[in-house]
């Protein structure tokens, strides 16, 4: 291959038609709060783990909505469920239960 001095990034296009929405519906049944998120990022700002690993409930929810399941799981797998995000969430989302529910539904 000829070296052009640069590379092309793989496509980051998401085809939402191909995303399986069933799991998300199941999730919003178990934890209806998931649709309340307004992506303010208070959870990420207060997160105990985020100083060690990229962890964010906000990003996880966005990734789920985009169908990027494994990325969402990566944002949560380091979580210690300390509950700080629940305390700071302006929408009163039950983040701890949301995190466990996501891990249970998508982790299979």
């Amino acid at each position: 291959m000829i070296d052009f001095g640069f590379t092309v990034s793989p496509s980051s296009r998401i085809n939402l038609d191909e995303v399986d929405k069933k799991s998300f519906v199941a999730l919003s049944k178990i934890e209806p709060d998931v649709v309340k998120c307004m992506a303010c990022g208070s959870c990420s700002a207060s997160c105990t783990v985020s100083q060690f690993q990229p962890t964010s409930v906000r990003k996880a929810i966005l990734s789920l909505q985009n169908g990027q399941i494994s990325q969402a799981m990566d944002f949560l797998k380091h979580c210690m469920l300390c509950g700080k995000c629940t305390m700071v969430c302006p929408r009163g989302i039950n983040t701890r239960h949301l995190i466990i529910s996501i891990q249970k539904i998508y982790g299979k």
Binding site: E31, D33, S46, T48, V49, Q51, F52, Q53, K77, H78, C79, M80, L81, C82, G83, K84, T86, M87, V88, G92, I93, N94, R96, H97, I100, Q103, K104, G107
Partner: protein, 637 residues
Amino acid sequence: MTNILSVTLQAVTPEGIIDRYPNSYNHFVLPFVIGISFILVYLLIGLVRVLYHLSGEDRIKLLKSLFNPKTALKNLKDIFCDCLLHTKIWKRKPLLGYMHSAIAFGWFMLIVLGHLEVYIFAPRHLEGISEGSLYYPIFYRFFIWINPAHETLRGTVFFFLMDFFLLYVLSGIALAMFKRVRSIALGMRHTTKPSLADRVALYSLWAIFPLRLLAEGFTADLSGGSFLTKPVNWLFKAFFGNELNFMPTWWAYSICLGLFFLAMPFSRYMHILTEPVLILFRNAGLKVRKPRKGFAEAEIYACSSCGLCIDACPMNTQKKNLKYSSVYFIRFLRRHNNKKINEIAEKCLMCGKCAALCPVGVNSPDIRRVQRETINNSVGYDYSYLKDYSDKAAAELSDKPRKSGKVLYFAGCMTHLTPMIIKSVEKVLKAADVEFEFMDKDSGICCGRPLMLAGKTEAARKTIEANKKIIEQSGCSILLLSCPICLKVFKEEYNLENIEILHYTQYIDRLAKEGKLILEKKEGSLVYHDPCELGRGCGIYDEPRNVLSGIGELKKAQKERDESICCGYSLGSLTLDEKDRSKIAESSVANLMANAPDKIITACPMCYKAIRSKADVPVLDFAEIISSSISGLKQNS
């Protein structure tokens, strides 16, 4: 009928007491014999099952505790106080205590005295099953005839005692009937809805003692009676003029007893027999390991379904949440209704109030935690980053000079959300001239308690290991905590040797007592909120109150100490939503404001945030108010 007559006719006998039935058997004892045999066999099988499901280690623990004189004495005391006298209920609700002890202790005394009577007057009938030892002492008054000419004082004393305790039981039964109609009169706002088996057992229990009175009343002229049965006897004689109702009442009495025993294993009344077993297990120090087997099974069957936990539960502010009370959780566990079990297990705030108030001492939050474990323990996680962190933090701390009496302060996640608490603790420690290391100054990792509460026990062990390493490397001798949630897990799971684990309320109390911290009394009236994990969880009630009463006038909340109401934001609940939580917070604040204090003080960063959002008066953290009350500095000698 003919039997009775034949006996009364051959009354000319030199003995004081004779068997009216030479073979001492009558068909009417059958229902009772069937019932009692069934319950004894059921109990035996159940006991073997429970023991079988205990782990080997637990069984050895149990065996050792039975032969340890100290625990054996405690066992005896607990069984007598809790199963018979019901001192726990007496203390909180005297009328309810009277009702329960009347039925339990009264019935127990009737059985004991009945056996004693037989032992003294007709010992032959205690010798074996063939002699009727199973039923004879129960129906003693039916089988004997006592010659009035030979009636001894000893016999009369027994007649009196039997009647006395029968009256005692009857008064309890009357109260119990009244309670069904108006439970609030006995101090209970809500009671449980009885199941079918409960109803069968309940109504037969109610019938047993009035029927006993009637039955013994009919025979009082033959077999002796006292102030209760004798008048009944005269009344019947005058009313009926014959002995025709003699047998039916004894049959009814026996049938009710049999029915009660047959319904018992499927009803709430199983607690009568299982509570002593639970006491033995608890005093042996056993813990719940499986949600439905072993120790948990003993707890499930020991639940008396009394419903005191319904009133206790902080979720009872909303009627729709009454169904999440411990009593229903245990009922569903008993019925193996998995869907409901999980729903209730995940809803609970784990504040522990139901366990604290439970007259039987069933620790249902523990069962819930283990139940959560069965679902959530397998949820995946990746904590590989913990090792790097703990290595680094341990190295940093171990570089610092080691001194005896070194204090290590761990703030924890929640305290980092309220930096004011950290600043206040630092200020107080500085004022008292205490040198300390700050373990998680730049925010550390979680203590593991939230993971434990969520049922991810295995994951919690990972964070516990990481923290433990740092603490042990630091060479501290006191670990100071400002979050009760951390305190509980540090005390229970960390097994830190030679390190004293203290909450800041305890430490400040100590500093004040030692004179290292002089506090000024300049505050107005204060009320102290007992955080669940600190009070019921770790038993710390007095230390914060000691200190607070030194800086202001301490007012009482409506319910406090082990009856305090959870702030609603406990990490214990997994599924409770924001709306319900804020309702609980409101009721918690209303409870604190009962005596209109100027300020509310709490000692938990979570309670602080929750109460602050609902209260109209200033809410301060314990450390915050102490730091503003320091007057002179040290007085070190």
